[in-house]
Symmetry: C2
Subunit: 245 residues, 2 copies
């Protein structure tokens, strides 16, 4: 399925300014301002000055929080987003309630305890982000994430992403029954997304975060309906096309 741009102008705008450039600019800005996020339950709160606010919105990290403060904008980052900015992009620090900075390992332990299947979800998130996909929550489509080629204002999301793992936790009950498979595929089709399954397996043990992340291996699978009409041998297709013309 080809990317569904929101108009010709949107496609031109996206090509002129790749997502990697926008994310790099956000990274530099956050490093420069020595930004600190505040752990708060299942999210991390971070204050941005006006220029950063624009970069956050363009790079599609977090959700802006409406408040009365005029000189700074607060953003609510998901656990995956915060850990990615902190440990992979190395552009923010995260502090706990006691204002003490948390190191990578402490963050990892905290987040793993807060969210079922977090190691796999984070691996999936960072896997896609590193390839410059914009990754957002997929809750409304019954999947873990949705992936956009560029900013959601310019293009519709292309992939509905399900994260599966070998480990025996709640995350692991998806797609085991045929009815679930059909249901997911039909829903993806009706919202014009391709189902992308990231199957994540853990090899080796003992290493601590973030180097432990390299032990997680990602296998990408796309599931689409098999359409007999579109899957005939080349000759038939040529014949059909020549009939049309």
């Amino acid at each position: 399925m080809a990317p569904r741009w929101k108009g010709k102008a949107a496609e031109a705008k996206a090509l002129a300014e790749p997502m990697s450039t926008i994310v790099s600019r956000l990274q530099s800005s956050l490093i420069e301002s020595n930004s600190q996020g505040l752990l708060s339950g299942c999210s991390v709160l971070l204050a941005a000055h006006p220029e950063q606010t624009e970069l956050f919105n363009h790079a599609c990290f977090g959700r802006p929080i409406i408040s009365a403060e005029k000189d700074k904008q607060w953003f609510q980052l998901s656990l995956e987003e915060a850990l990615y900015l902190c440990s992979v992009m190395k552009c923010i620090k995260v502090v706990g309630e006691n204002k003490c900075e948390k190191n990578d390992e402490e963050l990892w332990r905290y987040m793993t305890s807060k969210k079922v299947g977090f190691p796999f979800l984070f691996k999936a998130y960072s896997h896609l982000r590193m390839k410059n996909w914009v990754v957002r929550a997929g809750t409304q489509y019954g999947v873990d994430f949705v992936a956009y080629r560029h900013h959601p204002a310019l293009v519709h999301s292309e992939y509905a992403v399900l994260v599966l793992s070998d480990e025996d936790d709640n995350k692991n009950t998806r797609l085991k029954a045929w009815s679930d498979f059909h249901c997911t595929l039909r829903l993806c089709g009706s919202v014009a997304k391709t189902l992308l399954i990231l199957h994540i397996s853990k090899n080796g043990d003992g290493a601590i975060f973030p180097s432990s992340l390299e032990n997680y291996c990602v296998e990408e699978r796309i599931v689409t309906r098999w359409n007999p009409e579109q899957s005939r041998e080349n000759q038939t297709i040529v014949q059909k096309e020549s009939c049309k013309s």
Copy 2:
């Protein structure tokens, strides 16, 4: 959600001829002709004379098979349909490959071995059929069955039915993850069906089929989205309505 009739005439036609009447007529006709179904893998084949063919189609049992035979029409019954006609309606006999008639217990053992979760699926099927719902396969919607108020030509299916059980088999992996729940609900909403969950538990043991069926207890649950606008206190609704008028 109100039933979605396929036009005013369809509704009138359905009211004039209740499904229970049509099914009774099929039952009498099958008993009279001493009908025999033939076990064949995961279905049962049954020949019908022209008048029966119409009754089969109206009562919505089985699928007609296209063949060159003119005087009789073959129908392919699902395992649930065949066992229902045989053991509950007691209007057909079922024979195996050796042309020997199978008794209820033999049929039950055969079908249970052919289809994962069959006892629960059959209990759900007969539960709904006995209440005069027309029950068809729900594969295309990622559920076990769909239920119609009357013939599918007259009305759209109202319920997407998922059968859940306490037993630890493949059927039992549905709706365990939130993402699956969201996915199923969103799909049901998009095809204007209500999600009906039949939770079936087995109490007691030892009895043989068909009396063992009484050991299965069915709990009906409907799952719908909670819409705050529609769930306010009465007073507010009255106020809103009076504003409109």
